[in-house]
Amino acid sequence: MRTVLIVEDEWAIADWLEVLLSEYAFNVLVAGNGREALDILHRDTPDLVLTDFMMPFLDGAGLIAAMGQDERLRSIPVVVMTSLLEHVVRDRAGHFRAYLRKPFREADLMKIIGEIFPDEA
């Protein structure tokens, strides 16, 4: 069973993603911001990080930068989910695997996850 870490300050979106991905048989971890996400990443190594961009305490750019400095976390694929335009995010954040423009639908999300984990599709 693969593990997905959801990093999202909007609780309703986080709840929806948690339920949805559980139904797709993922093990789901949830953090309310980048700082909470790093706390989780210190003890767990998920297979995928789905992160919002604008968040309190530590935003998506900060989280991606911190993950990039940690050899254990560097290879974990990151998907940024945000209302911001993709170039705005790419200008401000380091490497991430995919961009998902909010608001998105279930099919959009599952398509990206399917591309990251082709065996699961």
Binding site: G32, M54, P56, F57, D59, S83
Partner: protein, 495 residues
Amino acid sequence: MSGDNGRFATGVPGLDAILGGGVFDGGIYIIQGAPGAGKTILGNQICFAQAAQGRNALYITLLAESHARMIGHMRRMTFFDEAAIPDRMSYVGAFKTLEDDGLRGLLDVVRREVRTRKASILVLDGLITVHEKARSELELKKFIHELQTQAAFSNCTMFLLTSAFDADAHPPEHTMVDGLIELQSSLHGRRAERSLQVHKLRGSWFMGGKHAYRITENGHAIYPRIEALLETPSVWDSADGPMVSVGIGGVDKMLGGGVDTHSVTVVLGPSGSGKTTAGLQFLTGGPASEPAMLFGFHENPMSLRIKADSLKLPLKSRGDKVTLMWRPQTEAVLDEVATELLSTIRQNGVRRLVIDGIEGFSKLTDEKERIGSFLSALCNELRALGVTTLATAETDHAGMTPGQPLKGVNQTGLSAVAENIIALHLAALRSENHRLMTILKSRDRRTDMRMRRFEILDGGIVLDANFQSAERILRDISSQGPAPTPSTDLKLTGE
């Protein structure tokens, strides 16, 4: 940006005039209103206006719509600037923090985010949720107090949005914050009217009472009540200069040479008596280089141009020196219309103005008791702006009372605003309708007040050379018996 006096303009049209110049740096303000009142739009509008000035704004949501949906809605607004996000305008959610860590956790989020993002504007959307989460009144008071301290130390102005409002209750936070702004909506018949009211503003005068507002793709536009905004005219009146022709030769002579510059003249009469024709003559009666304007509720610009052409009045040749502004009375708001009128006058440097159907203003509001002071403020401002005005006013369509040709012509509400009043009459004599004119009032001037018969020909109104034809008509009306309806009543004051 902030002014020297430690306050800054919100950038929301009309709001800063009501606030006496804006809000204070480091102040904390509540914006409240029922769902749909436009609190979120107002909060975003203030943030983007400040972001456009180079300041950093932060929007924190609790139980509000998702950021994606909010940004999606704001994208349709002209004030929205995609490039401002996320550096100068950012959105963060803090409901989970509030739920898990209580009011203390939320204060931590605010403090940290304001400092990290160097925010000088903060909107906290969902104060009601904080209210509900607080375990006691004391805890809520401590929250507001700490927020005030943060606002002051970080020089960050905070707006707290909430849907809670009970006019009779006095929630503790109301006594603590620096300002309280309420957005309201009320029904007038089937028409909904939005209004904004400032209940409190520490450290500053503010314009009390309710002020109409609209929400369009430009965001909020608030229209201060004209009589409050222009309690005293915006500039000093300098009513000097040559007399102004009303554009009707015979009338100028009856008035002793014309009307005073910067004066207001009202032409009243029933439909079809020639009021709009008089207005068009006044409009085109000045020097060709003089900016002039006709503002009306009834006839659209095309119709007025056709009318002027058929009367052979030189409206077309005046080109852009003449502005025709038409505002149908459908869903218009009184103060919005007056604001647009004054703004156009200032913009175009109008010196000669026709208001065709001044009674139309009273149809734009159910608060008829306002109209007297509204017109007084409007006319005082027109004088102060150096505008000479001719306004038409419609009376009921009725005949003349034999022997009492002025009976029933109600001037109530007009004397206070007009230096000159000219009455037009339709006098039915057997099968023929005659047009008659008389001057009822001319301030401080020797006036020929005898009635004149007139016709509308090429060039407009042409008066008979003397009063004898009018005399004959009035004598014949007296001998033919009473008119069927003896009253002409100008409904300006809404009685």
